[in-house]
């Protein structure tokens, strides 16, 4: 889990314009079911899956992608554009 300080340095380095968030207690990852765990010799090790999730202004999930395909953000970005255009049409 990266700390806010590490994220801040990284955001500055690559000039990001959106917030980088840290789930230090893994609460959100658990709620969203993104944590994967392995039991090895009576110890459980957990880490997060890659995921892209798009949530609209009403708080409704519009797109979910997890695993290897989520490494490429293009499908999610296309979905963002569609959602944005839909919002403008209203």
């Amino acid at each position: 889990m990266d700390s806010p300080a590490a994220n801040a340095a990284f955001a500055k380095q690559i000039s990001l314009t959106f917030p980088l968030l840290s789930d230090m207690n893994r609460k959100m990852l658990k709620t969203y079911g993104i944590l994967k765990g392995y039991d090895v010799q009576n110890e459980t090790y957990e880490w997060a899956l890659r995921a892209n999730i798009i949530i609209d202004k009403q708080g409704i999930i519009q797109f979910v992608e997890e695993g290897d395909s989520a490494v490429d953000p293009n499908t999610a970005l296309t979905m963002c554009t569609t959602l944005h255009k839909k919002g403008d049409a209203k």
Binding site: M1, F10, F18, P19, L49, I54, I55, I61, V64, T81
Partner: protein, 76 residues
């Protein structure tokens, strides 16, 4: 895309090699139960500016693109 905010969630763990686990060990994936059409569960996370960011902060204002990145090599 001015109405869409992207939130990057960097979840770099030190377990890069862990997915290759011997067969005798048990794996369990917390299957992502969320699907399109569900209400997104509320969350509160710490931003890189040490401010709390809630999903509900964007309700009625912006669409949210949540990207969960593991091993993003932030140096953290």
């Amino acid at each position: 895309m001015k109405h869409t905010i992207a939130l990057g969630l960097l979840v770099a763990t030190a377990l890069a090699a862990a997915p290759v686990a011997p067969q005798a060990e048990k794996s369990h994936v917390a299957k992502m139960t969320l699907k399109v059409g569900d209400t997104a569960p509320e969350f509160t996370l710490l931003s890189d500016q040490w401010k709390t960011v809630k999903l509900s902060d964007y309700r009625g204002k912006k669409n949210v693109f949540l990207a969960v990145y593991v091993l993003a090599f932030t140096g953290g």
